[in-house]
Symmetry: C2
Subunit: 405 residues, 2 copies
Amino acid sequence: MSITRAGCAALDSADPLRGFRAEFVLPENVVYMLGNSLGALPRRTIEAVSHTVTAEWGRDLGQSWNTAGWWDLPEVIGDRIGNLIGAGPGTVLTGESTSVSIFKVMSAAVRLRPGRRTVVVESEGFPTDRYAVQGLAAGFDLNVRDFGPEGSLADSLDDDVAVVLLSHVDYRTGALRDMAADTAAAHAAGALVIWDLCHSAGALPVEVGAADFAVGCTYKYLNGGPGAPSYLYCAPAHLAEAEPVLCGWHGHAAPFAFEADYRPATGVRRFGAGTPPILSMSALGASLELWDKVDIRSVRAKSVALTELFIALTEPLGLDLATPRDPAGRGSQISFRHEHGYPIMRALLDHGVHGDFRAPDIMRFGFTPLFLRYVDVYDAADTLAEIIGKGIWQDERYQRRVTVT
Amino acid sequence: MSITRAGCAALDSADPLRGFRAEFVLPENVVYMLGNSLGALPRRTIEAVSHTVTAEWGRDLGQSWNTAGWWDLPEVIGDRIGNLIGAGPGTVLTGESTSVSIFKVMSAAVRLRPGRRTVVVESEGFPTDRYAVQGLAAGFDLNVRDFGPEGSLADSLDDDVAVVLLSHVDYRTGALRDMAADTAAAHAAGALVIWDLCHSAGALPVEVGAADFAVGCTYKYLNGGPGAPSYLYCAPAHLAEAEPVLCGWHGHAAPFAFEADYRPATGVRRFGAGTPPILSMSALGASLELWDKVDIRSVRAKSVALTELFIALTEPLGLDLATPRDPAGRGSQISFRHEHGYPIMRALLDHGVHGDFRAPDIMRFGFTPLFLRYVDVYDAADTLAEIIGKGIWQDERYQRRVTVT
């Protein structure tokens, strides 16, 4: 039974999420499979940012810290994100970059396990996660233990392990870890666990459950905009004692008392430090409004259907699938290993299909169910077949490397 | 010889900076003396942010990391700021909050003086500076030594002092330190020095000179917008060896190689960590374009004239001036200590004069020469006289505290 474009169009017509595509600005003749890197622009964001610039800043000026609620945005937006990851009110904070959030929670977590001097990170984890931990470890004289994708987490744990940092979905392969099982394994060894939700929140149901901490970015499946602030989660059990080593006035118990000494705020606010970038926060806040109407189970169901469709359509190409074949074991992306992955992805882009390349050899396609259609997936597979089949990728112009891929 | 409003209007007509006011959005009937806290909205910023949202993000999507130069913004904008603080190209980086920047440079500075375990900070410094250092010191087991405003810096130094963190302009009193002299004193004791330029860059000529590091915020006199990213400066002599403890992929030598281990970039880029908030960066970039046409010496001359005018006009009120009387010893603000400072500032705001209150008793007025006029200063003084003279501030509604003042 062959898959036809008309069949895909029929799936789009029956899609319970079909109404959401109109909420986004998407260029004509583009199949955007890069929503796992930078999400598309929600239409409502245009008006929201404009309002923040001209009315809140331009007209109301510094008063907007009160009147527009700027001061409370890190927690207000945090609570909205909490709804997407199974975290209760007052446990999620937004405002600074993912690297900074990782550094904050890792430094706080290590302090909760005094006497233990080792942190476990994935050998194939997203580099900034590794770099943040390596920097902290060098400064605080901790041991960093690498944990490979093939190994068992339990085998990497012992009574010197203070904290384990894991990615819910692997950024290269799209492999999905079992959060509950890994969290239990870490706890069984007396370690705390931090989850990186960058590639899962907004793409599939996430439940922080017994996790101690989590961090995530908002510019991928949450469509918060380029460089949108990250979020961090702290389990209620740790809120009273967690103290990140990176402190600032937004995390103080009484920021406008201008006290000489640091005193952490009650609750997740204690993870605040610097003043958050309000224009970027405004865009993020607008994008999150969309989620009030979204059933995340429908998102996951469509994500599985779209990725299954893409695997089926590209099967004749004989590509080396880097993503787990079982949909239960992957997030919302499909990756192939290919020695010519770079020029192939450049040629695809030139033909209207946006995906990306991740060194050394990964061709990556993201599936954002809120705006990606079944016909888009059909067209992407068709274009990929043409580019490989006709050797279009061999054109000289696709070999040239650009700074950011 | 009394000062008249007509005389002030004449000064405005002769002001070489008079053309710049039209570059800003300013509400009718408002005297905005809070530019030292949140600068006003430059008109060009409206279009710039709109372009970034709709064209760069909405239309060009992830390609804008290359095509719109997003990836290079931290250094490109950094170089523009460098022009305002006497720092050469490739020595200034933007992208994260002031608290994070302070943490980064302080952690790098301490490592450049191994064996020395004390850092000196101002007892009256801006709280977030103190908090960032206190957090780092607790984690790194450093001693924090307070240095009072009345003391001599040299007396606070000895051979255990690794780093001194000083504010160029005091946020409460507006007192201006002698950067060259203090830098020399720190160096004479073998210590490094970090300057906080939050309340000076953009308000007066700044020369980093022999300073080792500097940080500053961009939402005050630089009008970058609420929560606009901060900047940090690293002296060329330290660029090859400085290593902040907070690391991330934007600071890596080859960020798109996705290497497993951190390797700092060459140059100031090594201070990068997380992905910068692009919408806020866009606003900052637009605001900085204004400075290409500004002679900072004219800004300083007008700042001195405006602050002298305000002191003269308010003299009959017998207020307790907290700012140095000699203009050479102050930045671009005037502060008074007053036991009823809070309700007075609330009443002023209600009468169209925006200033702010800083606990415990400081009434603060900022002077941004690019948009503040002599007649504005006249009107502000007039309103202040009325509010104090008629006891308007005693009204019950001005006593109520709001979250952010």
